[in-house]
């Protein structure tokens, strides 16, 4: 029922092509706002990174490069499975679509698991500014500033991942109900755009946070 209504052409559009164009353009416009949302944080990061290079390098040493690299690979893999999901939807291969969507979600969950482990580890090391923080080494306030940005940037990114996982779950259910077809794969495509965007943010976070020094 719901499925049928969704696949139907909304009353304000003339034809499916127009609807598809509008949806995809809408997602791109939304991604523009997302870029600027992260952009504010990137500006803050750049300002302080320039002002306190040594302190930021010292802060970066407290991150686990191996886990960061692993997570980068996982997220890139999830982008691949997402792209393959879109392909499966476009060619109308329902089983493959469901499988790739679930795989994407699985990879996303692994990413969040590793991220959670890193957070937990920071908590144990008392390196969570504002919650549990004690640090006696050099550049104390600058290391704290670095970690504030680490948590803000990865936290905002993780929040986007969680939202993305929710959207993927909805897609998986809809796919299971057989909503998508070669004539109607728009939702998979636009949520795919969102997922890839989240991937791109991480592609920048990885060198900026983990690979200093």
């Amino acid at each position: 029922m719901l499925a049928e209504r969704r696949s139907a052409l909304a009353h304000q559009f003339d034809d499916p092509a127009q609807q598809h164009e509008a949806s995809s353009l809408g997602m791109w416009a939304f991604l523009l706002t997302e870029i600027m949302l992260f952009g504010g944080l990137f500006v803050g990061y750049t300002v302080y990174r320039t002002a306190y290079p040594a302190g930021f390098i010292a802060g970066s040493q407290h991150l686990d490069v191996l886990l960061g690299t692993l997570n980068t690979a996982i997220l890139i893999s999830s982008s691949l499975t997402m792209a393959l999901s879109v392909h499966a939807a476009q060619v109308g291969h329902r089983q493959l679509l469901i499988r790739f969507l679930l795989l994407t979600m699985l990879l996303g969950l692994v990413f969040l698991g590793i991220k959670g482990y890193e957070y937990w580890h920071k908590y144990h090391e008392s390196l969570v500014p504002g919650i549990r923080f004690s640090y006696d080494g050099p550049y104390q306030s600058q290391v704290q500033l670095f970690l504030v940005f680490y948590f803000l940037m990865t936290g905002l990114h993780a929040l986007h991942m969680v939202i993305g996982l929710g959207l993927l779950a909805i897609l998986a259910v809809l796919a299971w109900r057989g909503v998508f077809s070669p004539a109607y794969s728009t939702p998979v495509e636009i949520i795919g755009l969102y997922w890839h965007f989240v991937d791109i943010v991480w592609i920048f976070l990885y060198p900026l946070l983990y690979l200093l020094g």
Partner: protein
């Protein structure tokens, strides 16, 4: 409707992205001088992002309007960074910070 991209392109892009990740990690082990190291890391990140945008996000096969939107995003991101830094980087010249 969007063109359908053959999966083998996705796989190729995927392998390139993984290789680039390894590369950037490897380069970071070399502990290059501060500006150079950052430049290399950011250039690789930029290249990876371009690959994702062009292929995974289908921009290579999309209308000019999508290109405009992507361009606007990059331009505005650069703009807020450059104009803000124009303050911070010229402060030292004057007394103060």
């Amino acid at each position: 409707m969007a063109d359908i991209v053959p999966p083998r392109i996705y796989y190729r892009v995927y392998v390139t992205l993984l290789a680039a990740t390894l590369l950037t990690w490897g380069v970071s082990r070399l502990h290059l001088e501060s500006p150079l190291g950052v430049m290399v890391a950011l250039t690789i990140a930029m290249a990876k992002a371009v690959l994702v945008v062009l292929f995974f996000m289908h921009v290579r096969y999309s209308s000019w309007l999508t290109w405009v939107f992507v361009g606007a995003g990059i331009a505005w991101m650069g703009h807020i960074l450059i104009l803000t830094m124009s303050d911070y980087l010229t402060r030292g010249i004057v007394a103060g910070w």
